[in-house]
């Protein structure tokens, strides 16, 4: 673009309001978490700070609770992501390559209905069907598989079920976008040259779906690891995750300094995970570009 194509040189100033908002409401607050990690106890509403301490950080690294919950949360994150991938791959394939093309858009729109629905309502819906004497338990009870007056709610299993239900659409959509872009001719060429279904999948389909797979992992793994609503509502006494520990510092125990320290370390760990995934996305995109 040459200079005389730019109608007004001051046009760029139009990005100022949003730049300012992102700076003041996202970058600075997140950066300030380091500072808040050293605060002793709470900051009250008028902004008074009682004092500074390094006890928050020492306490965090000396206590087992945080480390244990951190590992557990990343573990649940990975498990939920894997379950989502297993369910999503054939689904995304089906929508992209099997169903008639005039239904594709509608089917994909239905997949993202949960994205537009309140997270709380999705959790509530799962709770209603899994509750004691609810639909699922009555069904299992009539098959003599479980006692219909009990329920799997309020356990780690319930947390995992709810999280899979909530995040499935993100994985399906990411995979769909990638698989949809695979040229059908490549697949039929591979098959007519004698490659079996497995070899075609291994050498053509899977490598070309890696960017979508990775962006799906990013969209599922990071938020799932940081979830706090699901463990609070359906986790029961043993269902805590690192998010619920952070949440309780702000709403129950009221020790904001400690909460900030927890959030800060958590944010660092998530950033490392995100950086690794993003780097893999870039190199995957490059290698596909090289293949074509």
């Amino acid at each position: 673009m040459t200079d005389n194509e730019k109608p007004i040189s001051k046009g760029g100033t139009m990005i100022l309001p949003s730049s300012l908002l992102f700076l003041c409401l996202s970058l600075i607050p997140l950066g300030m978490l380091i500072f808040f990690s050293f605060i002793d106890g709470n900051i009250n509403m008028s902004g008074e700070i009682r004092g500074f301490t390094i006890e928050n950080l020492t306490r965090m690294f000396s206590s087992f609770t945080f480390t244990k919950l951190m590992f557990k949360s990343v573990g649940i994150g990975i498990l939920v992501t894997v379950i989502c991938i297993v369910i999503s791959y054939p689904t995304a394939w089906g929508i992209a390559k099997v169903v008639k093309s005039k239904y594709k858009n509608l089917l994909m729109m239905l997949i993202i209905v949960p994205f537009f629905t309140s997270q709380l309502l999705l959790i509530y819906a799962i709770m209603v069907i899994f509750q004691a004497k609810g639909v699922i338990m009555t069904l299992l009870g009539s098959l003599n598989l479980a006692d219909s007056s009990t329920s799997i709610l309020y356990s780690n299993l319930a947390v995992i079920i709810v999280l899979v239900y909530e995040y499935l659409p993100y994985m399906i959509l990411s995979l769909y976008t990638s698989i949809e872009g695979i040229d059908d001719n490549l697949i039929s060429a591979s098959q007519s040259l004698g490659a079996g279904r497995w070899n075609t999948f291994k050498n053509i389909v899977f490598p070309m779906s890696i960017p979508g797979l990775l962006s799906g992992i990013l969209l599922v793994l990071v938020p799932v690891t940081g979830s706090f609503v699901e463990p609070t509502l359906v986790g029961g006494p043993n269902g805590m995750m690192v998010g619920s520990l952070i949440n309780s510092q702000f709403t129950v125990v009221l020790n904001m300094g400690y909460g900030a320290a927890l959030s800060f370390v958590f944010l660092i760990i998530l950033s490392i995970i995100m950086a690794v995934i993003k780097k893999s996305i870039n190199s995957a995109n490059k290698s596909i570009g090289g293949m074509e």
């Binding site: 109608p7 007004i8 040189s9 760029g12 139009m14 990005i15 100022l16 309001p17 949003s18 908002l21 992102f22 409401l25 996202s26 970058l27 600075i28 997140l30 300030m32 509403m45 700070i49 369910i87 999503s88 054939p90 689904t91 089906g94 099997v98 169903v99 858009n105 994909m108 729109m109 239905l110 997949i111 993202i112 209905v113 949960p114 629905t117 309140s118 709380l120 309502l121 509530y124 819906a125 209603v128 509750q131 239900y165 499935l168 399906i172 959509l173 769909y176 969209l219 690891t225 979830s227 706090f228 609503v229 998010g243 952070i246 949440n247 904001m256 909460g259 959030s263 944010l267 998530l270």
Partner: protein
Amino acid sequence: MKNTKFNLFIKIWLLCTYAIIFIPILVIIIMSFNKTPFGMLPFKFTLEWYQLLFEGSNLFAATILSLKLSGAVAITSMIIGTLTAVGAQYVPKKVSNLLMSVAQLPIIIPWLVQAIALLLIFNLTGLGRSYIGMYFGNLIVVLPYCIMMVIARFNEADRTPEDAARMLGATYPLVFKDVIFPMLLPGIITGGLMSFMVSFNAFAMQYFLAPFGVRTLPMEIFTMIRVGYKPDMNALASIIMIITIAFVLLLNKLGYSASRLMKSK
């Protein structure tokens, strides 16, 4: 065809996925007409929960608050989002790329962390939990969607009318009003609708930033689930879900595909 068996398997798999996604939603809708209050079996038809909902339940006040909040947030987000998308055309590529990657932060980082960081800053500056804080918290998580929707219009649309208008001597304000704005309008509207939906459901931001004692609809639902829910919630949940599904089908009719809507994520 040799793939028939495999395709049948895929179709059954598809059916099961849709069942997983929609059965819980369907059950809620059916249970909202069930006489036993907690959605338990057996089923007996009644409309009393809808009656209860419309005759002074506290869910209604919370719904109104959520509608007002999301409306205000969506309008601001449409204005600032459009400004940003237009402005991004006139800055060096490096600057706009930087802005875009910063803009993605609020949607990738868990909202728990984003909300807590904001709460701490608001407390430090003496603002504390407040309506204005909640408004800004919601704004920052919906703005990225709106920016990306409008920028997508810039990337898809045919830019020749704009060049033609300018070559024929139209001043920039006139080009903006007659050419650029109409071109961007679908993106602005979709961006606004998405902002509205996302803000309406941004529980974490509202939970940490709302003034004490004030509850938005997601917060009200959260409390109800925790303390034992009331049956009129099934009725409200059904209404919201039907509106959501209708909204998604409407977007589909308008020609929006899921990939286009969610590319911003």
